[in-house]
Symmetry: C2
DNA sequence: ACTGGATTCAAACAAGTGTTTTATACATGT
DNA sequence: ACATGTATAAAACACTTGTTTGAATCCAGT
């Protein structure tokens, strides 16, 4: 099994450029899914290797160990998250704060529902719940930038400085609703059986409407 | 260590009534805290026994094993949760739906902040995130009753039947905010360093104001 | 054909897990 | 005092964990 395709066509490609494209990527892919759905500790290297049809020693060979594999998984997660943040920024460029907030919610939910990147947010949520050593990097490169953008949108709705304590509270209220749809089986009971694009759109409209009204109400406090 | 006090004063108390009051309860207490903060799998019986100053075999002796201990911890958690639900019901009896929802939020947050029962809700959240065998019992005895009450309050605010799909969505929006304050270190960053009674009251006011406005906005959809 | 580096494989390892076992101390009932 | 059932203690058990080892296999370059 696992026909090796290491630079089989590229005539004189430098061998070091593509160190591997087969089992290494399979491990990376399956590990990402397993880590996201069950958590780092609950997943065994034997689970991953079996799922990826790889030998038990493959993880240590390609990534130096379970921790190294997890670090690599987190790396691609961080990069995709940054891309999503950029998409959120573009979607709200030159629009009103209300539309910016709604766009952020919609882009997020659409990514979760339609793309194959749901595991990324699940993984991020696990890192927030019980952080590993990589949490500081995640906070700085992913969470802070996105929260900064949403904070500015919320402050725009409230017509108050971003440093206002109520802005942080509203941030929590909005983020909480987005996170709730990820971690729990409750999400699957809301949007049966899988979160379709239509479900995501309906959810986005609900959370946006609910949250904007909430933020406005807090603003008059 | 661990001076045994098994009915040492009660002259002729039936020996079977108080099978143990010392190490068994210490195990129960410490296990509850550890299970809530780290999860069932991450906590070892050696951790619990060391924390409770008990012998390694004590858990198997008193509870028949790690699983039996966890079941017993869940039992007391369920009972306390039911008491909290009752308190929420009493706090909102004969009041408007708005006040009922606010009372539910306030009672919940007050319990989390002031009493020593924070671990209970953390444990419940873990059960929701990745359920064990006991999840069905929890759903039926704890989650369903409380959600039914909050659903009726929300439907009251919206002036629509409780079966309306938007009611379920609003339920999610409210619950998500409450849950967000439990599991994550984010809570400790919002309310530094420990959640005081004043913090809980401020948070309760925020979530109530935010949520009631959100529900009202959804109602006009 | 063959050499050399990269990759895969089966087997074993050391450490940590929950549990069981066996023995000992204790308070109580007769 | 003695026997009895309860509780604690230390050691060992069987099992799973991540990791390491050393041989086997593959493929490109000569």
């Amino acid at each position: 099994m696992s026909s090796r395709r290491t630079h089989v066509v590229t005539a004189t490609a430098t061998p070091a450029d593509t160190p591997d494209l087969e089992t290494r990527d399979r491990l990376l892919h399956e590990a990402a899914l397993l880590f996201a759905t069950h958590g780092f500790d609950s997943v065994t290297v034997r689970d991953i290797c079996q799922q990826a049809h790889a030998n038990l020693a493959a993880i240590n060979y390609h990534f130096g160990g379970k921790a190294g594999l997890y670090a690599e998984v987190l790396n691609v997660a961080i990069q995709t998250m940054q891309a999503t943040t950029e998409e959120i920024r573009k979607a709200g460029a030159g629009r009103s704060p209300d539309q910016q907030l709604e766009a952020a919610i919609r882009v997020f939910l659409t990514r979760v529902a339609t793309t194959k990147d749901k595991w990324i947010h699940q993984l991020m949520l696990r890192e927030v719940a019980n952080p590993t050593a990589a949490f500081d990097a995640i906070l700085k490169r992913v969470l802070e930038p996105r929260m900064a953008y949403m904070r500015s949108a919320i402050a725009g709705i409230m017509r108050c400085p971003v440093s206002d304590r109520r802005v942080a509270l509203c941030m929590m209220s909005v983020q909480a609703q987005l996170h709730a749809l990820l971690n729990s089986p409750l999400a699957e009971r809301l949007a049966s059986p899988r979160l379709t694009a239509a479900d995501a759109d309906r959810l986005a409209r609900h959370i946006a409407c609910f949250s904007i009204a909430g933020v406005r109400a807090i603003a008059t406090t």
